[in-house]
Symmetry: C2
Subunit: 180 residues, 2 copies
Amino acid sequence: MMPPRSIVVLRLGHRAFRDKRITTHVCLTARAFGASGVYISGTRDPSLRSSVEKIVRVWGGGFWVEFVKSPLKAVHDWKASGGCVAHLTMYGLPLGETVLRIPKEKDLLVVVGGEKVPPEYFSLSDFNIAVGSQPHSEVAAIAVFLDRVTGGRWENLKFENAKLRIVASERGKVVEELDK
Amino acid sequence: MMPPRSIVVLRLGHRAFRDKRITTHVCLTARAFGASGVYISGTRDPSLRSSVEKIVRVWGGGFWVEFVKSPLKAVHDWKASGGCVAHLTMYGLPLGETVLRIPKEKDLLVVVGGEKVPPEYFSLSDFNIAVGSQPHSEVAAIAVFLDRVTGGRWENLKFENAKLRIVASERGKVVEELDK
């Protein structure tokens, strides 16, 4: 039987000061919607990684953040090991029909850019996918893409070794503290 | 026949410096996924509005940004005029089943918080909805919620009076300049 497909996000061109919060949102969104980890290129930003790791310690799961020096090499390596690469870009093909063409049995690398994405990513990726062809947000693009590509299965994810868990509630806030 | 339902986002507690980019992403995401406009409470931040208006001038449509002094009054007014209010919060009920209960024939106000949302919003809203009960991003929450509540119809939106339009493309960037 095939191992379960793993999804990893590659976030290009992080700038430590300007992008701090956006890249944190990219990481937390990737985690919440079922990715295993995020590769980040651009400025190596230890405070970003520690914010994300703090969330992981409290809310559980094995989500990781790794800085990569050469994001292009990360894409090449991913493909060389048999994985599929989907690049989210407003210039790409429509999400609705294109997401259906992504092979279910391969590991998936989801590339999201910053301001300017070099042309190599457009040619190397198996799919260039537009989560809408309007300017909006890489956070929104990842969220909607992962929702669609996982068929919404993130709603049933269990995050192991969590210290806190929310109990769904019609009104108000119910948080459960979990013993180890 | 019912008029088409309009969707507006209310973004609570904007802080001019810290939240500038996140709130801009909230606005652009709301626009791209079919909302008519965004009410913003917190710091009145003209530079935020002008960034969004610049996008609207180039990419079209009638999307608006309005600062509100009393967001609670905005919610009361929305309900008084017959609209439905959905508050996105990680403490709420699961998205998948709850989004189906939102009435299709009413105008919809989508409330997203900042750090701390006062309890009144939990009690006043018709629905408290968790786009996942994990910490992530208000941008992601709005995107996935709007995708689900519109049944993905944002993919066919036309933005009137646009100066630029992207032509979907398998590789590369194709942008069309539109004459008036």
